[in-house]
Every structure is written in structure tokens, then in C-alpha cells.
Symmetry: C2
Subunit: 341 residues, 2 copies
């Protein structure tokens, strides 16, 4: 049996779900993989920081976080103020990076991951920012240090996308893909096709924690675009930024548009496409009416779907239905186990 320690940046819904998942799975991980994970450091945005090299009591940490209390009291040593120092002092085997996404620069997540890789840690992240803004740099740094940088949960939560092409489909050359990658707008469009106004739909999505206080990142197609950029960058070797994606959000859709779709049995979906033809790349996010004969039609609620065209499989679709923070947390765990194997 081998112990591996984890430094967590971020202890929101996904971080807490991860803590519950490794607790619930501990026996299975021991039996099947002969590993035990301990969390030795947690840094949060507004609930303090804790370092305990013997392992933080996760049940206590979850109770404190759920009760909106600071984690500071769990620290056995003074936690360094700078986050870089915090990461290196944690001297953990893994960094789990779950800070909020930054569409424009990918910071501060890039710095967190760079610090971890330079401190001899593997880095696993659910954050899309570092993938589109620093994939090449971080991947090169990881290779140089004989460590890994993985990010399965950055796109479609814990559904296997990057790992499928990396681990299961050797020598597949992807020509393009098409899909629904943003859960929030998919839910909003569904609400609106049932008669809700745009504002009512947003209010509903906010009430169940799917839309943020400022939902423009989703609504204006930025989240979908950064996911498109991440997939193109990693899987197709095309270093796209979200700004490179021809982007149209869902604000422009009117009641008439929904009526029109309904009358011909179609649905509005925020569709992402990337195509490489004759060396030319087109990357696009835009609302489209899809018919029932399309695999996108039945993608409902917060589910997502993507279909890849490659030289070896004319169409490989991956559907994730009913994701939750638990699903994202599993993507993080899967990355860690795939690194260790």
C-alpha cells in the first residue's frame, strides 16, 4: 500500500465532493489500486487555509466548510500567506487545482500549477483556463519534471474525453467535433422552450446553483468557447484561445424563434463545432435549431454531448447525463489514478 498526499486549492462544491468521494471510495482504492489518499493542505477563497502533514480530518473540514466556518483551526503549522509558498510548503504528491476559471488569462490557476510542477508534484485540475492559456508550457514543464498535468474534469465534468483519446484510442487523428458543452445554456433553452422568459429561466438556473450571479460567461458563449478551445488545443493540436472561437450566445433568441422551432418539431441548442478541412480551421459556438434525428436533440437539462470525427472512427459520441459536482470530483480522482498506474 502506498500513501499519496494532496494539496487542494479550492474547497467549494467540487472540492467538497472530492473529499466525500475519496472518503467513500477509500476501501475500494486500497483493494484495487493499493493506494490511500490523504489531504494534507486545503486553501480556500474565503474560509481560510489548513496544513497538516499527517492528514487533515476531512469530515471535520467538510463540517466547517458546510457551516461557513474557517478551516484555519485545522492547521498544525502556520499556513504561508502566499499561495505559491502554501503549495510548496504542503510538499504534497498532488495538487488539485479548483480555483475559479479566468477566461482571459487562465490565472492564477496557471501559477498554482506551475508552482506545483516545479515543487515535484503532479497537477490535476478541473479548470479550463490553464488548459487553453498554458497547455504547452505546463505539459512541457510536467514532462521535464517527470510529473503529469491532467484535467479531465475541465470539459464535460467527469465524462472521459481527454482520457479516452489519450488512453484508449491510440493514433486516432481527429478531424473535428460537434456538441453541446455548456450545461447552463442548455438548461436555459429548455426552460425557455417551455414558455419561461429569459429572466425567469436565468432566475431558475441561479436558484438551483447552475447559473452564477453574473451568468454572462455561460449566456454569451464564453464557457462553451473555452471548452471548444480546450478540446481543439489538446486533442487536435490546434492552440485556440476562447477569443479565437466565432462566438454567439443565446441572448438574441426571441419568443418567435422558440415558436418557430416548436412548429417544426425542433429545439434550440447552443452548438459547438470545430472542423479542420484542407488545413483550415473553423471553430464556432452558436444557437442552432436541431431536429429529433440529431443526437443533440435529446440532450436535456444540464447534460452534455460531443461527437468526434476521426480518421479511424467516423463518429464517436460521448454523452454525459445528469452531471453534478460528484461527477467532476470523480474526473479529478480518475486523473490521479491514471497518473499512478
Amino acid at each position: 500500500m502506498k500513501h499519496y498526499s494532496i494539496c487542494m486549492i479550492g474547497f467549494g462544491n467540487v472540492g467538497k465532493a472530492f473529499a466525500r468521494l475519496v472518503t467513500r471510495k477509500s476501501k475500494q482504492l486500497l483493494d484495487e489500486h493499493q493506494v490511500a489518499f490523504i489531504v494534507t493542505a486545503i486553501a480556500t477563497g474565503s474560509h481560510g487555509r489548513a496544513i497538516d502533514h499527517n492528514g487533515i480530518d476531512l469530515e471535520k473540514a467538510l463540517r466547517l466548510a458546510d457551516g461557513n466556518k474557517s478551516l484555519d483551526q485545522l492547521s498544525t503549522i502556520p499556513a504561508p500567506e502566499s499561495i505559491e509558498d502554501f503549495i510548496s510548503v504542503s510538499s504534497a504528491d498532488f495538487l488539485l487545482e479548483n480555483s475559479p476559471v479566468n477566461y482571459d488569462t487562465g490565472e492564477p490557476a496557471i501559477t498554482h500549477i506551475r508552482t506545483a510542477l516545479n515543487s515535484g508534484m503532479h497537477a490535476v485540475s478541473a479548470n479550463k483556463g490553464p488548459v487553453v492559456h498554458a497547455y504547452k508550457e505546463l505539459n512541457t514543464l510536467a514532462n521535464k519534471n517527470n510529473k503529469c498535468f491532467l484535467f479531465e474534469s475541465a470539459v464535460m465534468d467527469g465524462a472521459p474525453i481527454f482520457s479516452v483519446f489519450r488512453e484508449a484510442l491510440p493514433s486516432a487523428n481527429i478531424a473535428g467535433f460537434k456538441g453541446i458543452l455548456n450545461s447552463c445554456t442548455n438548461l436555459l433553452l429548455e426552460k425557455m422552450e417551455s414558455g419561461a422568459s429569459f429572466e425567469e429561466a436565468v432566475e431558475f438556473a441561479q436558484s438551483i446553483g447552475i447559473a452564477e450571479t453574473d451568468p454572462s460567461g455561460d449566456i454569451d458563449g464564453w464557457d462553451a468557447s473555452i471548452k471548444v478551445a480546450a478540446l481543439a488545443t489538446v486533442l487536435m493540436g490546434i492552440p485556440l484561445k476562447p477569443q479565437d472561437v466565432d462566438r454567439e450566445g443565446i441572448r438574441g433568441l426571441t419568443d418567435e424563434d422558440f415558436q418557430k422551432a416548436k412548429s417544426c418539431g425542433k429545439r434550440w441548442k447552443l452548438v459547438c463545432t470545430v472542423e479542420r478541412e484542407k488545413g483550415k480551421i473553423s471553430a464556432r459556438v452558436s444557437p442552432q435549431m436541431v431536429p429529433p434525428t440529431s443526437p443533440l436533440f435529446s440532450v436535456s437539462g444540464t447534460s452534455s454531448f460531443v461527437i468526434f470525427k476521426s480518421d479511424v472512427l467516423p463518429g464517436l459520441g460521448i454523452l454525459e447525463s445528469n452531471p453534478s459536482p460528484d461527477t467532476t470530483a470523480y474526473g479529478l480522482l480518475a486523473d490521479m489514478l491514471n497518473i499512478l498506474k
Copy 2:
């Protein structure tokens, strides 16, 4: 660079597609994986056998097979008469087993694979028979001999199913799955919903090589059932035989049934389900009407789809659209590369 030799049993559509694929991909395989594959033995059902330890000229073999001529002339040594001797005399690194499926016993494929594993070869197969009738035995034998037995192409052609759970989703516990696993009946149902009679639909499917001369294996649900059994056996640890699956084919569907589906906007699909609840297993193949809100609705032509429910991902669907022998051939190649990595 390392050379690996292959003994092929079967040189029909899939075998020939494999020969074309490794030829087309040879440079990429060398660049990315530092491997070169040579085929040193081919045994066919009705076009002879060839062994050449220096490597059979695949272009010549394809020309002969396409011209309905015997491969015997490509042999540099007398090919043994018994297939077991043929396999061991080939002394290849890999056996590629593509003999016709036997729903009842899995033979002679099981014997071929056992012989290969006992001769120090890896075994890769697109044949479902050995998976449901001898998975445990062959897997144990492979482990004992430090070799591998893989069969990605046995279900949904080259779409990654077994490899996704084996390589990308560690410690996922599958509770059940639901899908469309038989291409032929899916095509027949589509033809019939467009007004064709059962006989006309079968005739069409036969004319494009999708239905066999005796199509009862597909039509009566045996092919779907053996795939259900293979998935349950390997992914859920439930050793099912096709005979254990509650099986209903598509012969019973009438014009009225298709009218009824059409009138409520649904489609008939041959649906496979396996559920494990409270320790009880139910496995079923039967025609069902599915609505446009189901991911099964848009699975058209010879495409297939399966969605898995697990303790870590509430719904992970995998869609393969427009498969062909090329897709199956890629599944074989992917298995080989995954074994070598």
C-alpha cells in the same frame, strides 16, 4: 523501433480492412509508437493459408483475396493443416482472431485463442463468442502467461467500450446499461418505419452486406443478447450467457405497431438493458417504442449506442455512428497498441 508479427485467422471484410489500416498507418505507428507490424500468417476459411516468417506482402494478399483467389501461393513454408499447429508454427507476437461467431459455444475461436496464449502470443479478437463463453478461462490463462486477451471490437465495432472502463475510468462500479447494440435490426426497423415490409427490409440489408444469408441471429435478438452478455460479463462481473438474456426479436412487429409509433412521434428500437438492483440481475433484449427525448431515438442506420449508469457517473453514453469494417479493424489495432503500451 520494434517489429511485431501477427497471425491472422480470418481474412474477410474485417481482416482485409485491418491489412489496409496497418499499411495506411505504418508511418504514424513508427513515429508515435516506434512499432512496425508485419503479418506473418493468414488462415482463411475458403481462400487458403499462408505463412511467411519474413512478412506476407499485404498488397498481394489483398489482391488475391479480392480476386477470390487462394493465398496458398504466398506461403514460404507448408502451412500446417490443423489450425492449432498453424497458430503455433506462425510463432507470431499477436493472434488476430476473426472467425465467425458461434453463439452457442464460442468455438472454434476459444481454441484458437487458447492455443495462441499457450504459444506465448497475445490474442486480440472481434469475436463475441470467446468473451461470453470463456472470458474467465482465457483471461486467467493470459495473466498466467503474462500475455493479454483483448476484444474491443466484439461490441460496437471499434468504439471504445471495454477500453474506456479499463483504461480511463478506474474504480467505476457499473450498476447497469441500456442501448442499441445490433446494427442490422436497427437498419431493418428504420426501413420498416419508412414503409418497407419485413422481407423487403431484410433483402435491402442483405444487398448492402449488413444482413447475413440467414439473418436470424440478428432478427431474433441473438447478436444483441451475446453483446449484452459480453458487456455484463466483462464490465459488471456478471457471467451471463446469451441464453440467460430475456430475448425478444423483431419478427413480431406488425404494420399496426409501426403506425402506432408514428402516430405518437416515436420509433421502434431493439433495446438492450441490464440492471442490477439489490443483488438481482435483469438482462433483456426487446423491441420498444422510444420517444424523441430518449438518446436512443436518433440512433439511425447501422449506428449503435449504449449508456452506462455507475456509482461515479450517473449516465455515460457512447455513440458509434456509421461503423464499417474499417471501424472494427481500428478496434483490433487499438487493442494491439494498448497491449504494447
